[in-house]
Amino acid sequence: MFSILTSLLTTTSQGAPANFWLPKQASTVAESVDLTFFVITWICYFFFFAITGSMVLFMIKYRRKGHEVVADGPTHNTPLEIAWTVLPLLLVVVIFVVGMRGYLNLQEAPEGSYEVQVTGQKWSWTFDHPKYGATQVAELTVPVNTPVRLLMTSNDVLHSVWIPDFRVKMDLVPGRYTSLWFEATAVGDYNLNCAEYCGKDHSRMFATVRVVPKDEFEPIMVKLASEYEDMSVGELPAYAINRLYNRCQSCHSLDGTTGTGPSFKGLWTRVKSGDMLFTSGERLSDLYGENTTYEVPENYIRTSIVNPQGHIVQGYLGSMPSFQGQLKDKQITAIIEMLKHLDELTDDEGNITVNPDGAPRQ
């Protein structure tokens, strides 16, 4: 009981640590959400102890000794019953109003919030920073004391972003956008969990929100957007599968299943041997060699990225958009290197097994 009391007192200060009921506060809305929580909780304590207290009292005081059948006492009391109908009604109206105001606060992102586009897919999170052209997977870096708006959608089934320390949550629905916003109040790492059941690895669909000082944020983003520039060719595959593949993922699988486009698994072997038929009737192997369309297999992949409509493989609709201008030359090289080394980057089921720095993923 004492711990509950002290925890209530501590929640009134900004950025309070975890207490008996709630995790630490790390966003601007957390304080008012927690206040609402504790007002309700104290109302609960009152009613709970009043109800069970009188129940236990009656149990002891009016315990049957023998086999009496007659027990007196009133059978009804209309004013009393009206009172205990109306008073709780007034109380819940108050709770409703407090809760609604806090909720509307959670809804409207302030003007000029920093925007991040979030994509959920089984079972990973992708965060795109349009302002910097940077992409993060399973990790979201945001500046402290800055309103951030997440514009979210899903590539497959329902997911839900939940950051407990920020007290925010919103579902991701395929085929539409949802949004939430927060303003982190303390530098640090915070859990982001998937809260809507989404299949096998639902409980592993995890990301870390890294809140960094304002002045460190921009350099991190700039580096993230251009980190490939200083990389050697050997470092590129791990970079590509972590930072670039998420843009291919909705159509090109890693486990061999056919999607809107062909799977990446084993694709390089087929491209290299030229074992592909196009809707034009041409065969890829006939287009290789000096003074031909592609000269070397790498050129075919490059052309397929910048001009996907050039040659469409039989059996596909050719619905891929051009990535001309969206990917730098070195990023295209990185994708080609990724295809060549796909076996080293994924397991048999198509799960990515390396981190951006090439270290094995846990």
Binding site: T52, R64, G73, P88
Partner: protein, 559 residues
């Protein structure tokens, strides 16, 4: 009204021994036998789903999970939830206890449509068979909610989805038919003297429940049928890839499944109204408020489904509207609690097994109801939604309240059903173990939920700080399981070795206590007339029979 237990021959003709052979049970039209068959079936399903519950609890002892893969865990919680909801809690009180008690409380010989009643039971059996098929052909891992688009994605969800959906569809009909039967029975077969406001409160609760069963269940039927068609043919109603709307599915689903919560809790509240009045020998306080509150809950229950979807992407305006209506449901629930407490006041409270369950219900339902306030409040629900706080909340309501009400009802009417007394001391021990075990199991889940533990997680490697709560919860569930095992043992023991039950062991006043235990085949030779079923002053204790008799100096109603 002379069928009271004045003389009890050694073997007398009753519904249990009136006819013999397995066929005389499987094709019986007798509501009492159907009730007993429901009871056996529901308890078997409870055992099955309970085993899955224990698997879930032991898996979560360590952050990495102890013995199941992700897929296995996902199946375990889906099967646990689906069986508990559709095969256990929804039919528990109405179909098992209601079938047995309702016609006798009315002094009737049977329900209005005995054949339909038998058909309902057979539908339950077919529903179970489809669930077992679902387990056999690949399992189900969608959660009991079958949310789209996961449930229509053949590549990722498991092959048992369609049999499970068909099973649920069939169970829906079972529920609708039971509801229809009870509505007609209560309207048409009430005895002389039993006006609407003289009905035992259990009948009011059953009546309110039946209204929900008849009005809400067709919606889930249509929804699940659409889901089957979507998954097999692909008509594009729920599938966003074809222009469908997955949130629409959630509306359809909860339009039934929220009222379904009241299908589970209302009849249990009816049981508790009987338990509290009979075992404190005190006229129920505020009869009309309790009766009306059942109807109010049934009505408001239809208008609050959207509170399951506060973070689904539905519009803020709708969230606000659903929030305020949700609060309105809390009022009739609170009214019931206050009236029960007032009934205890100046009562003559017998702390027997049934009453321990009744009082446990008040304790547990208070917590379950009050934590509903956190979830109805928009600002806090955003944080708590889909966390263990929600898991704890609905277990307090659906398990701690609905099932404990069911258990209280079983103990209350067991002597009437079986004609034998169980061991009261073991009953008390078991009831207290259930009470303690339940609270340890689920209170810890409130705490981890509000601190950030999401539900439906097979592992929690990134959040090892929650392990201590999971250990508490698993320890509690072990105590709970022990309580149930003891309960099963002494109840089974009583069937074979229990003392012969008197007609009225507790001093109940409603009609079922005026026929023998177990009741005769046709309940009453002719329909008796009734008075105030909560006036216990007409009874007196009879030492030789170890039960209560009608006082010699007081005339029966209508005499």
């Amino acid at each position: 009204m002379t069928t009271t237990s004045t003389t009890t021959p050694q073997v007398f003709d009753n519904y249990l021994n009136h006819t013999k052979g397995i066929r005389s049970w499987l094709f019986t039209l007798d509501h009492k036998r159907i009730g007993v068959m429901y009871l056996i079936c529901v308890l078997s399903a409870f055992l099955l789903a309970g085993i899955f519950a224990m698997m879930i609890r032991f898996q979560l002892l360590t952050p990495e999970g102890t013995f199941m893969t992700q897929d296995q865990y996902n199946q375990a919680f889906t099967v646990h939830g689906a069986i508990m909801v559709f095969l256990v809690i929804i039919p528990a009180v109405p179909a098992a206890l209601g079938n047995f008690v309702l016609p006798i409380m009315l002094g009737a010989k049977d329900v209005a449509f005995p054949k339909l009643n038998l058909f309902s039971w057979w539908l339950w059996v077919f529903g179970l068979i489809f669930f077992l098929i679902a387990l056999g052909v690949g399992g189900i891992d969608t959660g009991w909610t079958f949310y789209t688009p996961y449930s229509i994605d053949k590549a990722s969800s498991m092959g048992g989805v369609i049999p499970a959906l068909i099973g649920t569809f069939i169970l829906g009909f079972s529920s609708i038919f039971t509801g229809m039967n009870f509505i007609v029975t209560i309207h048409r077969l009430r005895p002389k003297g039993m006006t609407w406001f003289r009905m035992p409160l259990f009948l009011w609760a059953t009546y309110a429940t039946a209204i929900i069963q008849v009005l809400a269940t067709p919606v889930i039927g249509i929804t699940l049928l659409l889901l089957v068609i979507e998954r097999t043919v692909g008509i594009g109603i729920f599938d966003p890839a074809m222009g469908g709307d997955p949130v629409l599915y959630q509306h359809f689903f909860w339009f039934y499944s929220h009222p379904a919560v009241y299908i589970m809790i209302l009849p249990a509240m009816g049981v508790v109204s009987e338990l509290i009045a009979v075992h404190s020998h005190r006229h129920i306080f505020g009869y009309k408020f309790i009766a009306y509150s059942s109807i109010a809950i049934a009505m408001f229950g239809f208008l609050v489904w959207g509170h399951h979807m506060f973070t689904s992407g539905q519009s803020p305006l709708m969230n606000v509207i659903f929030s305020i209506i949700t609060f309105s449901v809390s009022i009739p629930s609170a009214v019931k609690i206050f009236n029960w407490l007032a009934t205890l006041y100046k009562g003559s409270i017998s702390l027997n097994t049934s009453m321990i369950y009744g009082l446990s219900f008040i304790f547990i339902f208070s917590i379950g109801g009050l934590t509903g306030l956190h979830l109805a409040t928009l600002a806090t629900d955003v944080h708590l939604h889909d966390s263990y706080f929600v898991v704890a909340h609905f277990h307090y309501v659906m398990m701690g309240s609905a099932l404990i009400g069911f258990l209280g009802g079983i103990h209350h009417w067991w002597p009437k059903m079986i004609g034998k007394m169980y061991n009261e001391n073991w009953g008390r021990i078991s009831a207290i173990l259930v009470f303690i075990g339940f609270n340890v199991t689920f209170f810890s889940q409130f705490m981890m939920g509000s601190k950030g533990m999401p539900r439906r997680y097979a592992t929690y490697t990134e959040m090892p700080e929650f392990q201590i709560y999971h250990i508490w919860s698993t320890a509690g569930s072990t105590i709970l399981a022990l309580g149930f095992v003891i309960c099963a043992i002494y109840l089974l023991h009583s069937v074979f070795k229990g003392k012969r039950a008197p007609a009225n062991p507790w001093g109940g006043r409603s009609l079922e206590w005026q026929c023998s235990s177990p009741p005769p085949w046709d309940n009453f030779a002719e329909q008796p007339e009734v008075g105030d079923c909560y006036d216990f002053s007409v009874l007196e204790w009879n030492e030789t029979e170890q039960g209560y008799n009608w006082r010699k100096d007081v005339a029966h109603p209508g005499e």
